[in-house]
């Protein structure tokens, strides 16, 4: 009898140990949309990207879209955010609602005077960390030209370990055409900041090939 109890205990321990719930293999995506100056004209492209991401995300994943304006380190700049429900039917409904919110925003958006990309990135890191998702991606839909208002401090190292940062549609400015080194330096600078923070860096300018290039 004693032996039987010991055997049963061992079997139970092995079974319970084997049944430990693992970390869900979910994805988290945070997209920053530059709304400064003339870049607002590019927002229709951003809508396409958002729809593509919505189509690819699955129940359990998280997605947020935030604008980049004068001071982006704030929850107020989040236009829409969602943690998709476990049930596929509910997740589909959430996707449609999300899309409607973005459409409404794009129709009513007004350009901002400054561009605080670093603040937006910090906000993205915070939001994705809280979401507790397995694989995290930050999409920056911007020309990467940061323009901070006087007094704002953004010379902060980014903690991006385990994050993938993708710069989308990095358009060339007029000055870039005069001196392309400015454009290349801008990209190199951001790459250095991301990689020194432990993240991985990717640039996707050809949005027509988004399906082939962008993997979340």
């Amino acid at each position: 009898m004693k032996k039987l109890i010991i055997i049963l205990s061992l079997v139970s321990a092995i079974f319970l140990g084997g049944c430990k719930e693992e970390v869900p293999n979910t994805r988290g995506v945070y997209m920053l949309m530059d709304t400064s100056g003339t870049y607002t004209q590019e927002l229709e492209q951003a809508q396409r990207v958002i729809n593509y991401i919505l189509a690819n995300l699955e129940p359990g994943d998280s997605f947020a879209v935030a604008r980049v304006d004068t001071a982006s380190f704030s929850e107020k700049d989040i236009i829409a955010k969602v943690a998709f429900d476990d049930r596929p039917s509910r997740a589909n409904q959430q996707k449609r609602d999300f899309r409607d919110k973005i459409d409404k925003f794009v129709k009513s958006v007004k350009g901002s005077a400054y561009t605080d990309i670093t603040g937006g990135t910090l906000q993205a890191i915070e939001w994705l960390t809280e979401a507790g998702t397995g694989r995290n991606t930050i999409l920056i839909f911007s020309d990467l030209q940061e323009d901070l208002k006087e007094g704002y401090i953004r010379d902060i190292p980014l903690q991006l370990a385990g994050f993938k940062v993708v710069a989308l549609n990095v358009t060339k400015l007029r000055s870039d055409n005069v001196d392309p080194r400015e454009y290349l330096d801008r990209l190199a600078n951001w790459q250095q900041r991301v990689e020194s923070g432990g993240g991985s860096w990717q640039v996707v300018n050809d949005l027509e090939r988004l399906e082939k290039v962008l993997t979340l």
Binding site: G18, E21, E22, T26, G60, P88, S89, R96, R99
Partner: protein
């Protein structure tokens, strides 16, 4: 200190190599006898160990063959007993049915025969009796006639007329009687036919019994061969066991395909019930739930087949009394039916989810034509097909019990054959290594001598000279009878 430090006795590597060769040759020469003994001893130890191991393995193989034969004969005996039992049950059913009908059949036959007998008796042809007054006519005819006496002529004329009338009447009577007899004979025909039908039925039953008895004889022959443990029986059973194994494996593979389709039908819609993101041991919960449902269906199918006594995998169910067993069969069937309905519902849900996905994707792409496509009027066909499959597949999977039973039973034999093959191969490998080690010892001894060929050559030369000098020495004179 590196290898080169030890090796380089002089600055020149060639000279160092030669010095080392000479040193080692001398050492090897001095240790030659001990080294030979050690090499031969090791090779013998290895050879004997391998030989003994091979012998043990061969003994195990023999035991395995014996066990396989016993298992095979036991399975064959059980299977033949089942067949014979079923044949006797059929004979029993036939005999019971026919013997139960026998009194009625006998009465039927007796009645028919009596009827025919009566009709036959009534149809016997009775010749009409001649009229009684013929003798009176003969007497009148014998009266001596006198010329001119018309009296006799008149009497005879009257008699003649009367006879004609009587003849006509008798003929009519005879015709009436003949007609009646013909009618009776005609009425006998259905009785004859009935009689023939009854006898044909009896003949059929008797023939059926004869056929069954022939089959039973054949099975009894097989059974006797199995009981007698003849080689023919073992060969026959082994061959059929392998055939059963491969056929059952093929059917089970097909059934696995069915289970796979079933899994895909219900896995996605189950995420609506249990969620589709959490994982246990690397598997999504909805996938686990789908697998559990399919396994429960398989189990219920197995139990149902067992309760119906089609398979005999669980003797406990088969040994239950008939009432309980049939009740359990109904319970299993009800659970299976319930699960089939659930699957049909889930299949419907799957189609609905697919439509929802298509609509959402179309909306996100801004492609309204896709939305229109998903709402076409033919979608009910795929929905109905999926629901039908969801309902039918659990019942189809139920029949997996039959090949599974065959697979399990034949697998014992097949595993035994594989084990025998493995043991034979192992014994062969052990013998091979034993012989290799034995001859390798001899080869190493020869190579050893080859390495020290220089000292050995010198040794032979020295020994040769010594022998020559021994031969040149004056031999002592032997005197006959000195001893």
């Amino acid at each position: 200190m590196s290898f080169s430090d030890i090796f380089m006795i002089t600055d020149n590597p060639v000279i160092s190599g030669v010095v080392w060769f000479v040193i080692l040759t001398i050492v090897f020469y001095l240790a030659r006898n001990h080294a030979h003994r050690a090499i031969i001893a090791i090779s013998r130890v290895l050879h004997n160990a391998m030989r003994v191991s091979a012998h043990s393995v061969m003994l195990a193989e023999k035991r395995m063959i014996q066990r396989n034969t016993e298992v095979l004969l036991e399975q064959g005996r059980e299977a033949t007993e089942r067949i014979i039992e079923r044949e006797f049950e059929r004979v029993d059913a036939t005999v019971r049915r026919d013997l139960a009908e026998y009194p009625a059949l006998h009465r039927h036959l007796s009645e028919e025969i009596t009827k025919i007998d009566e009709d036959y008796n009534q149809s016997i042809d009775v010749p009409p009796t001649p009229p009684g007054w013929v003798k009176a006519v003969e007497a009148v005819a014998k009266i001596p006639s006198t010329k001119g006496d018309p009296m006799v002529g008149n009497v005879l004329e009257d008699i003649h007329q009367s006879l004609i009338k009587a003849n006509i009447k008798a003929t009519e009577e005879y015709r009436k009687e003949s007609h009646k007899r013909h009618q009776l004979l005609n009425g006998m025909m259905p009785h004859w036919r009935k009689l023939r039908q009854l006898l044909t039925h009896v003949d059929k039953n008797v023939n059926s019994l004869l056929q069954r008895s022939t089959a039973i004889d054949r099975h009894i022959d097989t059974y006797e061969a199995i009981i007698g443990k003849t080689d023919r029986a073992v060969r026959m059973l082994s061959s059929s066991s392998l055939t059963h194994f491969f056929i059952a494996a093929f059917v089970l593979t097909v059934a696995t395909g069915g289970a796979f389709i079933n899994f895909h039908l219900i896995a996605r819609p189950l995420s609506e019930m249990v969620g589709g993101t959490n994982q246990i041991m690397g598997l999504q919960i909805n996938n686990i739930a789908a697998m559990v449902i399919i396994l429960v269906e398989l189990t219920m199918g197995l139990f149902l087949m067992e309760a119906l006594r089609i398979t005999r995998l669980f003797p406990v169910i088969g040994a239950l009394n008939d009432k309980t067993r049939i009740r359990m069969a109904w319970v299993f069937f009800s659970i299976l039916l319930f699960l089939a309905c659930v699957e049909a519902g889930l299949a419907f849900m799957r189609e609905w989810l697919m439509e929802e996905d298509a609509k959402t994707l179309a909306a996100l792409r801004g492609d309204e034509s896709v939305t229109a496509v998903t709402e076409n009027s033919f979608l009910w066909i795929t929905t109905a097909a999926q629901m039908g499959m969801g309902f039918v597949l659990p019942f189809a999977l139920m029949f997996v019990a039959i090949p599974l039973e065959t697979f399990v039973h034949s697998m014992r034999t097949v595993l035994g054959i594989v084990a025998v093959g493995f043991l034979r191969a192992l014994a062969w490998v052990l013998r091979l290594f034993g012989n290799i080690s034995r001859f390798a010892g001899i080869a190493i001894v020869n190579i050893y001598d080859l390495v020290i060929f220089g000292p050995l050559f010198i040794e032979r030369m020295v020994k040769g000279r010594q022998e020559q000098s021994e031969d040149n020495k004056p031999k002592p004179v032997e005197y006959r009878g000195a001893a």
